[in-house]
Amino acid sequence: MEKRKIEVLVGLFIVGALAALLLLALRVVGDNMLDGGNSYRLQARFDNIGGLKERAPVKIGGVVVGRVDNIVLDGQSWVPVVEMVIDSRYSGLSEHSSAAVLTSGLLGEQYVGITPGFIDEEEGTALLKDGGSIRDTKSALVFENLISQFLYNQDNK
């Protein structure tokens, strides 16, 4: 009986260690803020996403409303397509909304900022639905390009 108990505990110990390894290896955390039913997906095509990564936040006016779910390169147009999962509490964005890859702080992480567009009540503006695409996008600022532009402008003066 005593031996049985020891066997079970050692088994538990090994399983616990393997679970720790698994957590370290995959580091998947359940993102319960945005699970299946309470979210919808949007797409946006950027010319350049800079250092944007999957799971980066999507913000409207600084408030986190969703996460970047997937980043793929469109094989035909060679343009990165960013798929975002947005909390369905924030549905009803106008299709004139724009998205930009922004940086929090000088050295901070990059995120997607969405600026809500206008809704023309008389003409009837379409709203962004699940799977919809934001057309008006602004790429990430690439620091090197910025500097070279600055130097170029200096030379022209």
């Binding site: 031996k3 020891i6 066997e7 505990l9 050692v10 538990l12 110990f13 090994i14 616990g16 260690a17 679970a19 720790a20 390894l21 957590l23 370290l24 290896a25 580091r27 955390v29 993102d31 990564k53 999957e54 799971r55 980066a56 936040p57 986190v64 996460r67 929090s104 702080g105 000088l106 050295l107 901070g108 992480e109």
Partner: protein
């Protein structure tokens, strides 16, 4: 003058002899034909004594170390608006250094000392010589299971320590201080590399496991068979293995990340 030289020479010779005995012990334990299958129950008991009973201290320490890292790191990072980098800070410090090293130090205190005391007391009460009288090799029967149990358990304990520490950092950083949770994990994932960080950390803890367990079983086996000798051997186990771990950590870090 001659007496002074002789004293020094004697001390040196004693140390060398001790090193030789330790080397022989390690050699005989590793190449001694220890059969895992036949002696499974002996190993199992030691896995329980050395591993399972150490889980509590490892998990609690890991949690607190992770939480302190997050708290201290946050205070510095927030000045530069870089508190999103808390994830990699916590994960890299734990995986590369604190996980293997602190686990080894705790392990030396928790399990190493008890190994030494147990084996030393067996020697003092002549249980080891009785085994030899019965033609049972104490190295195979007593030392080898304890040695292998230590070597197996410590890397596993270090993995637990790391995982719990990262969760502790998550608790403080994200739940309490309000770092964005997506950033915590995603920047961590971007910064942590399989081979550079996780694998090197595991290699470190395997090396520490070998050294700490080796010192522990050798000090017990080599103890002067008196109450005082066992007490001295236990102290030496903790002191020597802690020093060895810290010194080796520097060397390994220089080789791996230098």
């Amino acid at each position: 003058m001659v007496e002074f030289l002789a004293r020094n020479g004697r001390a040196t010779l004693n140390h060398l002899a001790e090193a030789g005995r330790a080397g022989t012990l390690l050699f005989r334990v590793i190449l001694g034909g220890y059969r895992l299958r036949r002696d499974w129950s002996l190993l199992l008991k030691q896995l329980y004594m050395v591993g399972v009973l150490s889980v509590a201290i490892i998990v609690v320490s890991g949690l607190f170390i992770g939480m302190v890292l997050a708290l201290q790191g946050y205070n510095v990072l927030v000045d530069y608006g870089a508190e999103e980098s808390l994830g990699p800070l916590v994960a890299l410090s734990l995986l590369r250094e604190l996980g293997p090293v602190v686990t080894a130090l705790l392990f030396a205190g928790r399990a190493g000392s008890s190994l030494t005391a147990e084996i030393g007391l067996m020697k003092a009460t002549e249980q080891l010589s009785s085994l030899e009288m019965m033609a049972v090799d104490p190295l195979k029967r007593v030392i080898a299971p304890r040695f292998w149990a230590g070597v197996i358990c410590m890397p596993l304990l270090a993995l637990m320590f790391n995982a719990v520490g990262i969760l502790g950092g998550f608790l403080v950083g994200v739940e309490w201080l309000g770092v964005d949770q997506g950033s915590y994990w995603s920047i961590m994932q971007a910064a942590v590399d399989w081979q550079d960080d996780l694998l090197n950390g595991v290699i470190k803890s395997v090396v520490f496991a070998l050294v700490v367990t080796w010192i522990a079983v050798f000090k017990g086996f080599d103890a002067v068979p008196t109450a005082e000798g066992v007490s001295r051997a236990t102290t030496e186990t903790v002191v020597h293995s802690s020093l060895a771990v810290l010194a080796l950590d520097f060397v390994l870090t220089a080789v791996m990340f230098g």
